[in-house]
């Protein structure tokens, strides 16, 4: 039982990690909390839901994930072009980014509600056999798939940030944007790359959330909060901290839900976040980030 709960918990934690990292990369570079991320996730959940249903027989699951990732990327770039770009060019205060991101989050959720209502759409079943057994233990196939895909994506992302030229440039901009310009780094290219990463992560987490919880307009914003908690606990701006915190959060949530119930579990998670803000506001990785909005 404990092992199954652990696997399920890590699998949920892996989705939180995708969200938390999507949040953290934008915060790292742009220095604001991109609440539009939740809206992007909801939109991608709906897109993948209709994509999966549009074909008979349904497309292989990885095609749906890929399609959703591409759409997420498109939505992220659209939001950046319509909203953030203008703020950037005018060099306006950070609070405008924050307001803009909230506006987009609410706008996307409301548009989805207008068209699809607040009902929960069940994601069509993806695999022929929903579960498999190893010895006496039963695992959900989807949990394992989610875990595997998330690990691959996160490892690839961390590799890119730590080992490639563009990754080094991203880290430099995160440390000091002005000095990066003196290195010949084109900041608008970096911002575009950041929104591509965030969009892909939103797209993939959108499919996974849709599959696990069903598809509804507030699926993204409500689950984004968990990613947000993870990125706070991990230390806003620290990718490895966010991943670690998200996995821990998934595990804690799974065990709490099993033993005391889902509603209470959420309360306790926010309690943990509050405790972190009191005791260690810089997060577990201890990176101090100033000027947050």
């Amino acid at each position: 039982m404990a092992l199954q709960l652990t696997i399920n918990g890590i699998s949920i934690g892996a989705i939180y990690a995708l969200i938390a990292v999507g949040f953290a990369v934008v915060f790292n570079i742009m220095r604001f909390s991109n609440f539009a991320h939740g809206g992007m996730i909801s939109a991608c959940a709906f897109i993948s839901f209709f994509f999966q249903r549009a074909f008979d027989p349904p497309p292989p699951f990885f095609v749906t994930v890929l399609f959703s990732a591409v759409c997420g990327m498109g939505i992220a770039l659209l939001i950046d072009t319509l909203g953030y770009r203008r703020i950037r060019l005018k060099n306006s205060p950070k609070i405008y980014y924050f307001l803009m991101s909230l506006t987009f989050a609410i706008l996307i959720e409301q548009i989805l509600t207008v068209f699809f209502g607040t009902d929960i759409y069940g994601f069509p079943s993806v695999f022929k056999s929903q579960t498999f057994e190893i010895g006496s233990m039963i695992f959900k196939t989807m949990n394992i798939v989610i875990l595997a895909v998330s690990v691959v994506i996160l490892v690839a992302l961390v590799w890119m940030i730590n080992k490639t030229k563009i990754g080094l440039a991203i880290r430099a901009v995160a440390i000091n944007a002005d000095t990066s310009r003196l290195m010949g780094i084109n900041s608008s290219v970096i911002v575009t790359v950041i929104f591509i990463i965030a969009g892909v992560l939103a797209g993939v987490s959108g499919v996974f959330l849709g599959v696990q919880y069903g598809v509804f307009p507030s699926v993204g914003p409500s689950m984004m909060l968990k990613g947000f908690i993870a990125s706070i606990i991990g230390g806003l701006g620290s990718l490895s901290g966010a991943i670690f915190a998200a996995l821990a959060l998934g595990l804690i949530e799974m065990f709490l839900t099993f033993f005391i119930g889902a509603t209470e579990a959420t309360v306790i998670l926010f309690g943990i976040m509050l405790a972190f803000l009191f005791i260690r506001p810089q997060g577990i990785m201890g990176i101090i980030v100033e000027d947050k909005a």
Binding site: K165, L168, A169, R171, A172, I175, N176, D178, T179, S180, R181, L182, M183, G184, I185, N186, S187
Partner: protein
């Protein structure tokens, strides 16, 4: 020959004009110093060249109009080493150097360039895996200069390289600057340490309140009564 030729440069911060119609010429392969007191506009001038601030006026680089996009200025070979070093704390010394070479098209040159910088600044090689934020002030200044050299500059603009350094390290930095000139790199040296910079430069401008108030060779200005009084806090007799 002038590698950089600036006429009628103006820079505004909001509504306030900081640089008032300044003309500057920089001869290829020479050290040109820009001296003046704090707040005179020295840093603003090189930020204007780097495309870091909005500017007006004509900047000709190798006979062609210079772009005002900061990343393209770097690609043209005009590199700024900013005031206060601004090394990337949290990244290693070597990663800082690699960032200096960010604009280079030919990635094969990079290991050779790294070796050149390590030969010029042996301390950096000892510290190459160390977080740049933990280096001493002098080491950070060396790193900032080496990072600039990684971009294969044709014009290297150094902003207050002696700021906050002990006199013996300041001497070391100025020695390196003359070595850089020997490599054929044009140097623009912005300094408050007027005496030191005038003694190594070929030509110098004195900036006051956003105007050029005087110019001449380093020697001329070093022996000018006004300069001595205002910037060297001494008299010409004492220098001699």
């Amino acid at each position: 020959m002038n590698i950089l030729d600036i006429t009628g440069l103006r820079v505004w911060y909001d509504k306030i004009e900081a640089i008032h119609c300044v003309d500057l010429k920089f001869e290829e392969g020479k050290i040109t110093a820009i001296i003046g007191s704090n707040g005179a506009g020295k840093t603003t001038i090189i930020n204007a060249i780097s495309g870091m601030v909005k500017r007006d006026g004509q900047l000709f680089y190798k006979g062609k109009l210079l772009t005002d996009k900061s990343h393209k200025v770097v690609r043209e070979g005009i590199i700024q080493v900013p005031e206060g070093r601004r090394v990337f704390a949290g990244l290693t010394t070597e990663e800082n150097l690699l960032l200096g070479a960010y604009s280079l098209e030919n990635r094969k040159e990079i290991s050779g360039l790294l070796q050149q910088q390590y030969a010029l600044f042996p301390r950096l090689e000892e510290r190459k895996k160390q977080d740049a934020g933990t280096l001493s002030g002098g080491e950070q200044q060396m790193l900032a200069i080496a990072r600039g050299l990684m971009a294969k500059p044709q014009v290297l603009m150094l902003d207050e390289p002696s700021l906050g350094l002990a006199p013996i390290i300041t001497n070391d930095v100025f020695n390196k600057i003359t070595t850089i000139r020997e490599q054929g790199i044009t140097v623009i040296l912005v300094e408050q340490n007027a005496k030191k910079s005038l003694s190594i430069c070929d030509h110098a401008y004195v900036i006051e309140n956003g105007h050029v108030v005087m110019e001449g060779s380093g020697d001329e200005l070093l022996h000018n009564e006004k300069v001595a009084h205002a910037y060297l806090s001494t008299t010409v007799d004492e220098i001699e």
